[in-house]
């Protein structure tokens, strides 16, 4: 098992750091899956994270100048590591004006991701700050636990409103309630609602648009017979939604959510080089 990679371009480095910051806001611990072409940050829906799960995918070629990976075996040319993304985020904080960042999988005393940040220096010798981030190697027999989640058979799919507005509203609502109801219909309308003994607040978004989902088996065509006005709703933990929105530092190219009434809200945020899916289960 070998892994070494290098980022030299400052813009790529900053972009990569921003992604890690977003991941760190969503998960205390997650899985980093390395393949020849891609990196994945995975959080599976364990009770420890309140049942939320995450799948983040990026093409290594968009970020790394050098990327060499040798998996556990030839037929399984992948590496699965468990790590604390906040450790990686903090290591990258020192790299804001770095000349280069090298990441390497090492196993001196225990498995680590060694992040070596080469900083600009006035003298001829370079300054290097090295961070050793402990990781856990996930054995092959457990890889099935971390497969890509399938898009659920949703009741409604809708584009999200301007994230900045959504973020402000959810932040205020978080002061008032622990839970939030997300509901939407096939007429481009979405409501965010909270209700407690003291207060109830509903924010109405309209003209959002519903994404067209093409499907091989034509099951989406059943939407045509459906009532376009009827709302599909799910009540979720407001903190999870606030963390997702707080982590978005740049406007995504596409942002949408799929609602399975009373079961789960599936958020999909697409940027040019990275896609993020976040599943928040409904509170029973």
């Amino acid at each position: 098992m070998r892994f070494r990679a290098k980022i030299v371009d400052l813009a790529c480095l900053n972009h990569f750091s921003r992604i890690i910051n977003t991941i760190a806001k969503l998960a205390k611990t997650c899985i980093l899956r390395l393949t020849v072409c891609k990196l994945y940050f995975i959080l599976s829906d364990k009770v420890a994270n309140g049942g939320a799960s995450m799948w983040c995918e990026l093409s290594q070629g968009n970020f790394f100048d050098e990327f060499q990976m040798e998996g556990v075996a030839a037929e399984h040319n992948e590496i699965y590591l468990e790590l604390v993304p906040d450790n990686l985020s903090r290591a990258l904080k020192t790299a804001q004006s770095a000349k280069a960042v090298k990441i390497k999988l090492t196993n001196k005393h225990c498995p680590c991701l060694r992040v070596a940040v080469e900083l600009p220096s006035l003298s001829s010798s370079s300054r290097i700050v090295t961070h050793d981030i402990p990781v856990g190697v996930i054995p092959r027999r457990m890889w099935n636990d971390f497969r890509e989640p399938s898009v659920p058979d949703f009741d409604v799919s809708i584009y999200l409103p301007v994230l900045k507005t959504m973020k402000s509203v959810v932040e205020r609502m978080k002061n008032l309630s622990n839970f939030i109801v997300v509901e939407a219909n096939l007429s481009g309308e979405m409501n965010l609602k909270i209700e407690t003994d003291l207060v109830s607040v509903t924010t109405h978004f309209k003209d959002l648009g519903n994404p067209p989902w093409a499907s091989a088996d034509g099951c989406r065509s059943s939407a045509q017979g459906r009532d376009l006005e009827s709302m599909a709703e799910a009540c979720i933990d407001i903190k999870k939604l606030q963390q997702l929105l707080a982590g978005q530092q740049v406007n995504p190219t596409k942002a949408l959510c799929n609602i399975v009434r009373k079961r789960v809200v599936h958020f999909i945020l697409l940027h040019e080089e990275v896609s993020l899916q976040y599943f928040i289960p409904a509170i029973a």
Binding site: T165, V169, L176, T202, T203, F205
Partner: protein, 281 residues
């Protein structure tokens, strides 16, 4: 707009009904008196008064007169209810607090009367938020019985002169001592903290002093923790009037200009701290 999101037609009988193009005209004033969760709202044809009290010795009032609103109507002589001010502020600022030029949140406020919730309809950029805030029985408010005939000493200052002083008050001191006198030191703020005592003197002929009417030397102490929240009102204001009566009760009146240049007032009343003897003064 969904049916439930439409504000009620003006023809319906609401004990209180008001519209405001820029909700910040209300929220920024309410923040200046937000040092407790609960507030009493009192509305008459002249406008809205929101009162917050603490420890039975401090009271803050925010006045938003009817002219500030685009529409303001009170059905009976007066309407009074108690509401959670933290919740009210979260609702008024639901779209955020940053004031981008050109954007503002429009507000419509309706109250059906005793036992009914306070309804807020807020709109910004085509997005509508509807809030229903439960109201409570109003509690009896303190009456400081502070009228202009009982005023012993009065100073009007430009707020910028006091802002730094109040922001940097030594909070390790239990009290803020205010001395007002026709003779030196004229106007002195003192604290007695862990590091020692600090005195800040304002000469009567300072540019910052707009009016000086002191008839008697008075030194009074007030619990600093109670007065500290008034710093928010001071920060917003352009002028402040400081008055004391024969019992040493303090009245601070802040003149605040909103974004549109309209004038509103916030006042703080405070009882003198009783835990001091004459000998200490």
């Amino acid at each position: 707009m969904p049916f439930s999101a439409q504000p009620p037609a003006s023809g319906e009988r609401y004990a209180l009904s008001a519209s405001l193009d820029n909700a910040r005209h209300l929220s920024s004033l309410l923040r200046a008196v937000h040092f407790q969760d609960h507030a009493t709202c009192f509305a008459t044809a002249s406008g809205l008064r929101v009162t917050v009290e603490d420890a039975k010795c401090i009271q803050a009032n925010a006045f938003i007169q009817a002219e500030i609103f685009q529409e303001f109507s009170v059905q009976e002589e007066s309407v009074m209810f108690r509401v959670n001010l933290s919740v009210l502020l979260d609702c008024l600022t639901i779209f955020g607090t940053s004031s981008l030029p050109g954007t503002s949140t429009a507000l419509r406020m309706c109250y059906r009367g005793y036992g009914h919730p306070l309804m807020l309809f807020l709109e910004e950029g085509g997005v509508v938020t509807v809030c229903k805030i439960n109201t409570q029985e109003p509690e009896e408010l303190l009456d400081f019985d502070f009228c202009s005939t009982k005023v012993v000493n009065k100073i009007i200052l430009q707020s910028e002169g006091l802002r730094e002083a109040f922001a940097e008050l030594d909070m390790t001191s239990e009290v803020l001592q205010i001395t007002m006198s026709p003779d030196k030191p004229y106007f002195r703020l003192s604290t007695f903290g862990n590091a020692g005592s600090a005195h800040l003197d304002y000469p009567r002929d300072s540019d910052l002093v707009e009016a000086f009417h002191c008839n008697q030397t008075q030194t009074n102490r007030y619990k600093i923790a109670l007065l500290k929240p008034s710093t928010k009102a001071l920060a917003l204001s352009c002028k402040v009037s400081i008055r004391t009566d024969a019992q040493g009760f303090l009245s601070l009146q802040y003149m605040i200009r909103n974004e549109d240049g309209q004038i509103c007032f916030v006042e703080y009343y405070c009882c003198p701290d009783e835990n001091i003897t004459e000998a200490e003064l």
